[in-house]
C-alpha cells in the first residue's frame, strides 16, 4: 500500500482499463469459395451451371459442408443399409477433389490393417450424414495420388482421431512435408515434370532425374491461350452464393 506524505488514507487508484484490439476485423476476411462452384472453360450453356448452383446452395442450407483442402483429414458418416447402426464412418486424408457442380467428389485415403483403402464420396450426395474436418491443412500439391506409392506411414490416420482445433482468423497452415517413396516401379512416373510434384523427396540418382527432364515442355507456361482467369467469375459467384445462403 502506498505511504502518503500527508497522513491521509491512500486514494484508491483503479487499474488502467485493458484496450481490446479486435484483430478479427483488422485482418482481411478470408474468403473461401469451394472449387466446384467455378464453372470449367467450355461451350456449355451457363444456365446449366446456374441451375446446379441453386441446387448446391439449397443443399448447403440444410447440410453443412465445411471448408477443406486437399491434404486435410476428414471423417465422413454415410447412410448404409447393411451396417449395424445404419451408418458408416470413414476417416481419411483427402487426396483429390474433382468434378464441378453437383457431381463434385473427393477421395479419402487411409490404411486400415495394412491395407490401403480409398473411398470416393460425392459432396452433395443425400446419403452423406456428416462431414467433420479433423485436421485442416494444405499441402504443397493439388493432387496427392502419389501417396499410393509412398510408404504407408504417410497415409495412416487413426480412426478415433481427435479433431485438431484451428483458429478462425489465422491462415491455413501449409504442410511442407516431403514424402518418402517405396522403391520403383510406381503407378505413375511422378518424377516427370508433367505432374509438377513438390511434395516428394526423390531419392533417385541424378541421371534418372535428368532423363525425366527430357519430357519437360518449357513452352507450356508461355502458352497464353491455355490460361483461365477466374477472378471475375469468382467474384460474381461469391456474391451469388453468399446471398443465397443468407436467405
Amino acid at each position: 500500500c502506498r505511504a502518503s506524505g500527508d497522513g491521509k488514507p491512500a486514494k484508491f487508484q483503479p487499474p488502467p482499463k485493458p484496450v481490446i484490439i479486435d484483430k478479427q476485423k483488422q485482418r482481411t476476411e478470408r474468403r473461401f469459395l469451394s472449387p466446384e462452384f467455378i464453372p470449367p472453360r467450355g461451350r456449355t450453356d451457363p444456365l446449366k451451371y446456374y441451375m446446379e448452383r441453386k441446387d448446391m446452395i439449397q443443399r448447403r442450407k440444410v447440410f453443412n459442408i465445411p471448408e477443406f483442402y486437399v491434404g486435410s483429414v476428414l471423417a465422413v458418416t454415410t447412410a448404409d443399409p447393411y451396417a449395424n447402426n445404419k451408418s458408416n464412418r470413414f476417416v481419411g486424408i483427402c487426396i483429390q477433389r474433382g468434378g464441378k457442380g453437383l457431381g463434385a467428389t473427393f477421395v479419402l485415403r487411409n490404411v486400415i490393417e495394412d491395407q490401403g483403402v480409398e473411398v470416393c464420396y460425392e459432396l452433395y450426395s443425400p446419403r452423406i450424414q456428416a462431414i467433420e474436418v479433423l485436421k485442416l491443412e494444405k499441402r504443397l500439391d493439388d493432387n496427392l495420388m502419389y501417396l499410393r506409392d509412398a510408404l504407408p506411414e504417410y497415409s495412416t490416420f487413426a480412426v478415433n482421431m481427435k479433431p485438431v482445433p484451428y483458429l478462425d482468423h489465422e491462415e491455413i497452415p501449409v504442410n511442407k512435408l516431403q514424402v518418402r517413396m517405396k522403391p520403383k516401379p510406381w503407378s505413375k512416373r511422378w518424377e516427370r515434370p508433367k505432374y509438377n510434384i513438390k511434395g516428394i523427396k526423390f531419392e533417385l540418382p541424378e541421371s534418372k532425374m535428368k532423363e525425366a527432364q527430357k519430357w519437360s515442355q518449357p513452352w507450356l507456361e508461355f502458352d497464353m491461350l491455355r490460361e483461365y482467369d477466374t477472378s471475375k467469375i469468382e467474384e460474381k459467384i461469391w456474391k451469388e452464393v453468399n446471398e443465397g445462403l443468407k436467405k
Binding site: 467450355g42 461451350r43 515442355q217 513452352w219 508461355f222 502458352d223 497464353m224 491461350l225
Partner: protein, 163 residues
C-alpha cells in the same frame, strides 16, 4: 464420365495443328506475332492469322499491365524474338490501346495466294496503325433519289421548327 477419345475424332479441340508439333506451332506463331508488332500489318494464310490473333491480343493485355510486372516482361521476352520490339510493345502499343477494353486487331480476307497451293489468305493489322486504311467505308452519293428526298424532308422540318 470421360472415356478416352479416338485420335481421329477432334470434337471440341481448339488448337489447330500447324508447324512441327506443339513446340513448332508456338514458334511459328511467335514469329508471326513478332512480325505483326514490327510491321503492324501482315499478310498470311487465314488459319495462321486466326491462331495468331488470340495470342496477339493476350500479349497486348499483358503489356497493359506495365513493364514493371515480372510476368509481363517474361511473356514479352518469350513472344518477341527481336528484343527492340519489347520497348515498342510497352511504350507505344500499350498506351495506344489503354482506352480500349477488347479487340485490338482487324482481320480481313484477301484473294487466294498466286502460288501453286492457292491458299486462303488474310491480312491482319493492329487498329490505329499509321499505314493507309485497308477499306474505306463508302457512303452513297448525295445525288441518289432517296438521299434527295431525305434532304428535302430535313429542310421541311427545319422550316417548320424555325418560325
Amino acid at each position: 464420365m470421360r472415356l478416352s477419345v479416338a485420335a481421329a475424332i477432334s470434337h471440341g479441340r481448339v488448337y489447330r495443328r500447324i508447324g512441327f508439333g506443339p513446340r513448332g506451332r508456338l514458334d511459328l506463331l511467335r514469329n508471326l506475332v513478332t512480325a505483326l508488332v514490327r510491321h503492324e500489318r501482315i499478310e498470311t494464310p487465314w488459319a495462321r492469322a486466326d491462331e495468331m490473333r488470340g495470342y496477339a491480343e493476350r500479349l497486348i493485355d499483358y503489356a497493359k499491365r506495365g513493364d514493371t510486372d515480372e510476368r509481363a516482361m517474361r511473356m514479352a521476352n518469350f513472344w518477341l524474338t527481336e528484343k527492340d520490339l519489347i520497348h515498342k510493345l510497352f511504350k507505344v502499343l500499350a498506351p495506344r490501346f489503354q482506352p480500349h477494353p477488347g479487340s485490338y486487331t482487324r482481320m480481313l480476307h484477301i484473294p487466294n495466294r498466286d502460288a501453286l497451293d492457292r491458299a486462303k489468305m488474310a491480312v491482319i493489322e493492329l487498329k490505329g496503325n499509321p499505314l493507309p486504311p485497308l477499306i474505306r467505308p463508302r457512303r452513297d452519293s448525295e445525288k441518289t433519289l432517296l438521299n434527295q428526298l431525305l434532304k428535302g424532308y430535313r429542310e421541311d422540318l427545319h422550316r417548320a421548327a424555325a418560325p
